[in-house]
Symmetry: C3
Subunit: 356 residues, 3 copies
């Protein structure tokens, strides 16, 4: 059974990944052609000619349209066929699916569900994207051979940092500090404060702390697969309140997880910060530290995924620190159940095999 | 369900590919051992010892016979076992299948159906093979990761050349010229004339035409998978008749498509021509142009095959230029249906699993 | 249906392959973590944390225990969990399987069946391991992409040496000499004497024989997958009796075949000899000859395995020389049938899929 939620906005690409060229992206198992019109707006089409199935990404641009590389059928940015060489009439079945697209803050969003359900108001946003006191910086697109649920679960799981990231994002001071979990709407939050402890590697290198700090980690997981890690530190002597985090060194690490298919996920990550907002050098320092940490996650998550493919004699155990992941899996299962109900009531979902 | 027609003569190899060595070829999913007897004639045997299944191609020649490399069972060129080391009596089950073989014009033909149905009179032939006014030249063995139906269909489809081969075999002059399709016996023909137009790259380089030409393309597809492309050009001023093509520059491009299995095809191609018959330089020029064009086909046909393996929500559409391919697919389906009926009436087709 | 016998002692590794590091081995399809305690004894644990399934081999040593690399769950050498970070209570389901291990003569043995059936008295042994008149030498771990039944069968099959190893272990003198087969308890023996014949390559190079010899081959196959090849030569003039083999040049070649899974086997081989016991040079000469011969076997056995995966129209034939292999396959099938009966009567074997 699929683990993929279709009725959601996903990050298709950073804006900088898309230009005039015809490029194929794979999202939720769909091959999708992405390119920019001459006016700069992004087009997303089913990457398969309805005639002989050649990917349109192997064809060529004719103005804002795409010409198939096999027999020259031509499709506009809305997916409708505008030319069938060798005949005058264009059959109504000559079209490719088009996907709703929105572009904001350097991010290209795609709606993977039924187009009429696409509501741009539901696209993830943060006031800090446009706040002059904050600096936003796009990182990489991390490829993981792992189901997205493993990747997302890892981001509502503050407990792993002590063991997976001992030199960067965690240290032994946090091993036994309990984690709080709450949910609000489509967002699950797991958090904890570690008070009056040695700073972690990240804030030693970045914040310049020397004495003990109060440190916080808020893992906000927006269903189905966007994570905001709000973490930071303040001098322990300041004894800052939980809602006064902006007075400390605060970083928002964002993870936009796009399932390529059931066994492959792309995690596009970026970060925003309320200090050193004028210098790209800080961005690069943070990138470098994140790259170390996320490579550690990748190794773990790919090994976990590989084990999940093997036979199991016993059900995996759940422990106290799993509250965030357990709530997350439960909510995803509810979303999938809702989609199965929608599918069952639709009549357009007949599928068939071509060679018969 | 299989797409492979068994009761047919296929090209197993160019004559030059087979010598004294034991070599494995795979045709219609069968592993076949091919080698030459001392008198030069070709032997084709099932490439699997009936004892412990070792491929005989891993054994060695003993005169015209083959000795298995595991326990020394020896098989004559007719497939009958002539020696079982360690015992005097040879059990009747000690044999390998042998395949009917014919060799003509430097081509080795193999019959893949029931041996008693093999009729050498039905092997593909052309009078031009032995006509002194014509020159024949063998090209390459092009390997394609695509079902043979895609490869063959492409050769009864004159419309694709404008888009796939714009620099060699087609140009935009032909994009909208209608295609005629007719069938006669086991041969489907799609053809068109493009009158008084700019010559294509091929005949610019090869024929030396400078002004406009009349150009023809006849795509003869002999079931199940041999194509003869009769194409050429003559000065437009000559206004030659359709059946007077020998007065122009005429080339016959042959494609012998041998299915290796459902997802892999070898296309051995060659060409014959009625001009420049004395010079190998012309052959090499033609080879070079064909290699460019067939690499373009290969890219398209492999991408189409890959897409066919993926789930499909809609049936592919058919358009006006598909008449040749549609007739071809229909005829192949008829042949396959006939073979299924033959199989159902045979009692010898029991198959079983070895480890049970 | 599985071909793997679980209730048996297998060679997990040569002693020299295991040290303080956490290393993964795969045996009968199980991933197993092997390492040495500080006192040098070997630990074998299921290589999968029961929490999020991360292989424990990706964690780290904490004294004699292992700490999972994801959330820090810690397991003692007996497999019991000793720590769950974030909680005080350790649930009874927090454990990994441990495997009975014995180490003797530089060989690490593992019991792959139900632990309560493990009886160290049944581990394969030979008096020559500790006999001062004999010299033992460990060879390599030969990896074969072939089911272990093919590998083992090959070692109760004296007939193949004439054809597979013509330059080392066999020659044409033995092609037609009949093979005797007998069984005693869990051991099947196939043997033959070739009297008054040219020495094989092995004993030309190693024994220094110049004239004719009496040569023997005893293939003892201990179920399920240990082979002892007792082979040697003596001057033909001595006319030695069958049970006086120690008066000749005698070698015991041992093969410990460990199934990795249904399609992959590791054959750890070693040899003992009653001559040149003081010199390592002789060991290296024997190793070198064996490496040639076993590479020949590997090529055959991998090709046989590959053919077994393909469809078969006819049942393979059996011939006179197959008596050893046939008895062997029959006995293995009896063992597998016994294990299926045990499994059916056990209630603890429920298996389930994780993602449901």
């Amino acid at each position: 059974m699929t683990t993929l939620v279709r009725n959601a906005w996903y990050v298709a690409a950073w804006s900088r990944e898309i230009d005039d060229e015809l490029r194929r992206f794979t999202i939720l198992g769909d091959h999708i052609l992405l390119y920019r019109r001459k006016d700069g707006t992004v087009v997303a089409l089913e990457d398969r000619c309805p005639h002989r199935l050649l990917p349109l990404s192997k064809g060529k641009r004719i103005g804002d349209a795409v010409q198939c590389g096999y027999h020259g059928l031509t499709f506009g940015p809305d997916g409708k066929c505008t030319r069938v060489p060798g005949q005058d009439k264009i059959p109504p079945s000559a079209y490719v699916e088009s996907y709703p697209i929105e572009e904001r803050h350097g991010i290209v969003w795609i709606w993977m569900g039924e187009p009429h359900r696409a509501d741009p108001a539901k696209i993830f946003d943060l006031p800090q994207f446009t706040d002059p006191n904050w600096h936003a910086h796009q990182g990489d697109a991390l490829h993981l051979e792992s189901n997205y649920l493993n990747v997302a679960e890892n981001l509502v799981d503050p407990a792993h940092v002590s063991f997976v990231h001992p030199t960067t994002l965690g240290n032994s001071a946090s091993e036994n500090v309990p984690v709080h979990v709450s949910t609000e709407g489509e967002t699950i939050t797991a958090w904890r404060w570690i008070r009056d402890a040695e700073p972690i590697g990240f804030f030693k290198a970045f914040g310049g702390f020397e004495g003990n700090v109060d440190r916080w980690h808020y893992y906000h997981l927006h269903l189905p697969s966007i994570a905001v890690i709000d973490f930071g530190s303040a001098d322990a002597a300041d004894q800052i309140a939980e809602d006064d985090r902006d007075s400390g060194n605060r970083v928002l690490a964002l993870h936009f997880m796009t399932p390529v298919d059931e066994g492959y996920t792309i995690d596009r990550w970026m970060h925003l910060r309320n200090t050193a907002v004028d210098t790209e050098e800080a961005s690069e320092k943070i990138d470098a530290m994140f790259r170390i940490a996320f490579a550690e996650d990748k190794a773990i998550l790919e090994a976990v995924h590989a084990e999940e493919q093997r036979p199991m004699k016993r059900r995996p155990i759940r422990i106290a620190i799993d509250r965030g992941p357990m709530v997350y899996r439960k909510r995803i299962n509810d979303m999938l159940e809702t989609e199965r109900t929608l599918d069952a009531s639709a009549e357009t979902n007949a599928s068939f095999v071509y060679h018969d």
